[in-house]
């Protein structure tokens, strides 16, 4: 499943949906809003998307990961709109037969999402608001 939504998501519901006979491992990544960035106190963020293109990119990434790692299920949910500190931003969940390919697929999807999906974060901090330019380590 691929989703770009302003609504919060239930991690439990997504993980439960992957409890199928073919899966022996479920790996998930949840990105949340951090209350600090480069010495500035972050109050909230706003996420914007070029939605139609982002959905296409995420579907391509999902298909590539399914094929490359041979996992069974991949769900990607990315939120848009105003998010408070500690709110969930993104969920990537992978269901596979074994842990190794499931971990690798999850990491692959995350890095591809960051590199190829038209999504942008604006931080509202105590020192003003800034559009974020992502770095590899974040």
């Amino acid at each position: 499943m691929i989703e770009i939504t302003s609504e919060d998501f239930s991690v439990d519901d997504v993980l439960r949906s992957m409890k199928e006979r073919v899966n022996g491992a479920i790996v998930s990544f949840i990105g949340i809003v951090r209350g600090e960035n480069e010495g500035r106190v972050v109050d909230r963020i706003e996420v914007q998307a070029y939605k139609e293109m982002a959905l296409r990119q995420l579907e391509d990434i999902r298909k590539e990961a399914l094929q490359k790692f041979g996992v069974n299920h991949i769900t990607i949910i990315h939120r848009v709109g105003v998010l408070e500190v500690s709110d969930s931003i993104v969920l990537i969940a992978v269901g596979g037969a074994h842990r190794d390919e499931s971990f690798k697929a999850c990491r692959f999807v995350l890095e591809q999402l960051k590199a190829k999906t038209p999504l942008w974060k604006k931080e509202f901090t105590t020192d003003g608001s800034y559009w974020v330019e992502d770095k590899k380590s974040e």
Binding site: A49, V90, K116, T117, L119, W120, K122
Partner: protein, 74 residues
């Protein structure tokens, strides 16, 4: 994102001569919005919702082009 705020527009229509390239469209856009000139080097582009690296690619009637800043999702 930043560009929309900077130029206060979401969509704009530009007339490009037949056989015009992505590069020539970008030149029209940055000429119309000088604030984008400073960030041009980091500008990404898509044609019909697909990333395009080749600036010389020829645009066709009805193509939808988007210019945007570095991505920061996730």
């Amino acid at each position: 994102m930043f560009y929309r705020e900077a130029i206060n527009e979401v969509e704009e229509v530009f007339e490009l001569p037949s056989g015009g390239s992505l590069k020539s469209l970008r030149a029209l856009v940055t000429a119309a919005h000088s604030i984008l000139k400073d960030v041009e080097d980091a500008m990404l582009a898509s044609v019909n919702e697909t990333f395009v690296d080749d600036e010389e690619v020829e645009l066709k009637e009805g193509d939808v082009v988007a210019f945007f800043p570095p991505l920061s999702g996730g």
